[in-house]
Each structure stands twice: as C-alpha cells, then as structure tokens.
C-alpha cells in the first residue's frame, strides 16, 4: 500500500517547526506504524537527510515510550499504543498527519519526541509509602478485598504514555494522576500517606502547567490501557478529603 505522510519536523526545542510531506510507497499492511517510520527513515538516511526522530522502546505495547498524534487521534485510530498499531488500520492512498503530543508541560525535544519528565515529577511528588523493608512478607500477610485488588490492578495498568494529556482539550493530566492515586488508594499499603500524597501530586500537576479536567472523556477514549474515568472521581474525592483534614 502507498501512503502519504505529513510529519511534524522540528530540529530542536527552539525551532519553530512545521509539517513536511513524504510519499511512502510499497508499505506492507502488516507493518506496525513505527516499522513504517523505520522504512521511511532508512530511505531518508540513504538520501543523506536527517531521519525523523520519534520515541519507542519495547514495541510490544507495555512500556509507554512511544506515542504519536496520528491524524488527530492519540496513538491513531485503534485503541492501542502506536507500536501496536498496524498499517492495515489505514487505507491505501491515505494521507496521515503525524504530530507530537501537544501540551506545554511536554515540550518538544525534536521532531516527534517530547519530554515527559513532568509525569516523573508528579510521581516523585507522591513520595514514599510506609511499609516495612527487609524480608519480603508473606503474600497473604496483608489481606486485600478482591474488588479493591482488581481496581488497583486496573489503575496500575497505566503506562504513563501521555496519550490522555495529548487527547484532552484542556491538556489535563488528571487521568494519569487519577490512575496513580487510585492504584495506591485501593491498597492497604497506600493508606498512611493517602492525603498528603494526593495534595502533593495535584500541586505538582498544577505547577507543571497541565490544565484542569472537564470530565469530557477524551482521555479514556485515547488510553491504550483503557483506564476508566472513575479514577478521576477517586482523585477528586481524595483531594476533597484532604481539604477537610488539612488546614
């Protein structure tokens, strides 16, 4: 299949950047989106041009490193990561626009690569949890009700790819943060610092410059791990509890 790409090219953080059009002929429908970009990059290399910079690591949909805005949808038309998106999801002759995540807290480093350290700083702001270190405790030493364990697992599926921020009209990081907060809030180990953690994380989220949530749901629709909207409700409730308990 033959496709036309319009790719965001930007030489560095201070470059203005712009969309550049490339014809990419003879693509196998079984290639992943990133493999298609690899093919294009090899050609650009052969032509002595600068290849397109993009992030990727595991290429099996679990690390959260890749992430592209593909024709206006985070990770493209399928509900998966960009590396697990295949060219069969497109039609022969399609024109595909490829842009980096757009959010001021995610500055573009080069081409399609953005700096997502803001997420790391939100996690860091969450701080430690109080557990005994030393020998690993028996698995059944701290019982966790099944429903709580399952919800914690659902929240823990978040891979921090940033698609929620990219898809959100407000560039809000609430789904990501809601997943992290809910993950620990559902478990006994997360209880001692539950209130201080949510306040610190939300304060960091705001300081990074993310927008507020308007409960629109674009984030969940874009999330390759299908993190549900109700984690944001848990985040809001915990912040409200913190408001009552903190002067």
């Amino acid at each position: 299949m033959d496709i036309t790409l319009k790719v965001w090219r930007q030489t560095g953080p201070d470059d203005k950047g712009g969309l550049v059009t490339y014809d990419v002929p003879d693509i196998s429908p079984d290639m992943s989106f990133l493999e298609m970009l690899d093919v294009l990059n090899e050609r650009l290399n052969d032509e002595g041009k600068e290849p397109i910079a993009f992030d990727s690591d595991c290429r099996e949909g679990i690390c959260g490193m890749c992430g592209l805005m593909i024709s206006g949808e985070a990770h493209g038309p399928e509900r998966t990561t960009t590396c697990q998106l295949h060219m069969r999801s497109f039609a022969d002759g399609d024109t595909i626009t490829v842009e980096p995540w757009r959010a001021d807290p995610f500055p573009v480093i080069k081409d399609l690569v953005v700096d997502r350290s803001a997420f790391d700083r939100i996690i860091q702001a969450g701080g430690f949890i109080t557990v005994n270190t030393g020998a690993a405790p028996d698995a059944h030493a701290t019982p966790v009700p099944k429903a709580n364990a399952e919800r914690a697992f659902v929240a823990a599926e978040c891979i921090g790819c940033g698609a929620c921020v990219a898809a959100c009209p407000n560039a809000s990081g609430m789904l990501f943060m809601g997943a992290k907060v809910t993950h620990l809030a559902e478990l006994p180990q997360g209880q001692p610092e539950r209130m201080s953690r949510v306040v610190s994380m939300v304060a960091q989220h705001d300081a990074e410059g993310f927008g507020g949530c308007t409960n629109i749901g674009e984030c969940t629709a874009a999330c390759p791990k299908e993190i549900p909207q109700d984690v944001i409700s848990t985040l809001n409730r915990d912040l409200r509890s913190a408001l009552r308990h903190q002067s």
Partner: protein, 235 residues
C-alpha cells in the same frame, strides 16, 4: 526500628485546580437546585392569575414573622449572586489554565468521545450568563414589558403573559433553554464526578443519566408556560 521521615511539603489543597473544580461543582449544584425550584414556581402560571401572583407575593413573605419581609428572598439573592461570582471566576480561571496548557495547537485534532453538551460547556456558559443578565433586567430590575402594554400596578402575571406573546422574545427563551439543557446535562454529571461520587463504572453511568434527566425536567418545565402563552392557551 528508627526511621526518619521528611514532612510532606507544605502544599495547600485549596489552591489546586481540583479545589477550583469543587467550587464550580458546589456552586453549580446550588444553581441546579435553584432552577428546579424556579421551574416549579413558573408552572404556577398555569393555575391562573391569582394563584401566580399569590405565589410571587408569598416569595416575599416566606418565613415571616421569624424573618423580616423579603428576608428569605434577599438571602437567596445574596447566596445566588455569590455563587454566580464564584462559578464565573472559577470557570474563567480554569479556562485560562487550559488555554495556557496547550499554546501550540494540533494541525489535526479529532474529538472521539466528547459529547455535544460537554463541547458547549464554556461558550454555552457565557451565553447563559448574558441571558441571565437580560432575564433579570427584564423581569426583576427594570421590568421591561416588551409586549408594549403598560401593566397596571405590580402584576407579575400580566408582565409574563404580555412578554411571551411577543414571538421573538419567546424564541430567545427557547434558545436559552436549549443552552441550559446542554449546560445542566453535562454540569450535573460533571459536578457529581468532581465531588467524587462516581468511583465506579455504574455510578459514573448513573450520574450521566441523572444529568440528562434533570436537564430534561427543568427545561421542559420551563418551556411550558412561555409556549402556552405564545400559542394562546394562557391569556
């Protein structure tokens, strides 16, 4: 076992975006309850002139003699005005934050999950604010009778009936009620989510349905009197 723990950083929960959202939610719930009561009061119009005017007068005497004349009404006006100020302030602050969070826009961006009501939340809110200002000038502050006839004395029933016999005024109100439907449908759900009562999939879905049901009840109730007047069912 001695452990050292550093104290949590002195960040204040009340200066966060979520606190602003809570302000939106709580003031929004006040408005939602108010429009329900307001809608119910308007329906009194169907019971005839004396019933409606008695109701209007009763609003001024609620709580007497414990409260002074117009005491309850004044209190309600003050609460609503403060709530409006807080709602608008929080909305514009959050709007500004959201704009600042993405200064470089996408060349192509698709809306995948966004509902029509959520899409119109901000501009619809601005429209409703302008409408409320006009509505207050028309029926409370100046009592403009767009119907042109002079109303003898203080007769709210006549003022309402005269006004809604003017077709273009009724159209303004119908459009405003459609905007109110959209704002309430997403707003009621969104407030529920913001206060944190939707911590599972079923509750989340329930809140969405509640938003639409509440919006439908309010808007249909509000539209009955003006349309009845326009079509000559109430004179």
């Amino acid at each position: 076992m001695a452990t050292t723990t550093s104290p949590a950083r002195a960040t204040k929960a009340r200066s966060t975006t979520i606190a602003l959202k809570l302000v939106m939610a709580v003031t929004g719930i006040i408005f939602a309850l108010f429009v329900l009561a307001h809608m119910y009061g308007n329906l009194k119009l169907l019971a005839g002139e004396s019933a409606y005017n008695t109701y209007a007068e009763h609003l001024r005497t609620i709580g007497e003699p414990m409260l002074p004349h117009r005491g309850f009404l004044t209190l309600m006006e003050v609460v609503l005005l403060l709530a409006l100020g807080a709602h608008v302030y929080a909305a514009f602050t959050l709007w500004g934050r959201a704009r600042g969070a993405r200064t470089q826009r996408y060349a192509v961006k698709k809306a995948v999950a966004q509902s029509f009501s959520s899409k119109w939340m901000r501009w619809g809110g601005v429209f409703l604010l302008l409408f409320i200002i006009w509505h207050l000038i028309e029926f409370t502050i100046v009592k403009v009778n767009v119907g042109g006839q002079s109303v003898a004395g203080d007769n709210p029933y006549q003022l309402v009936v005269d006004s809604f016999q003017v077709w273009w005024l009724t159209i303004i109100y119908v459009v405003a009620m459609l905007a109110l439907y959209l704002h309430l449908a997403h707003g009621v759900f969104s407030a529920t989510q913001t206060v944190g009562w939707t911590g599972n999939a079923a509750a989340y879905r329930r809140a969405q349905v509640t938003g639409h049901v509440m919006a439908a009840v309010v808007v249909v109730g509000f539209l009955i009197p003006p349309l009845a007047i326009l079509f000559g069912l109430v004179k």
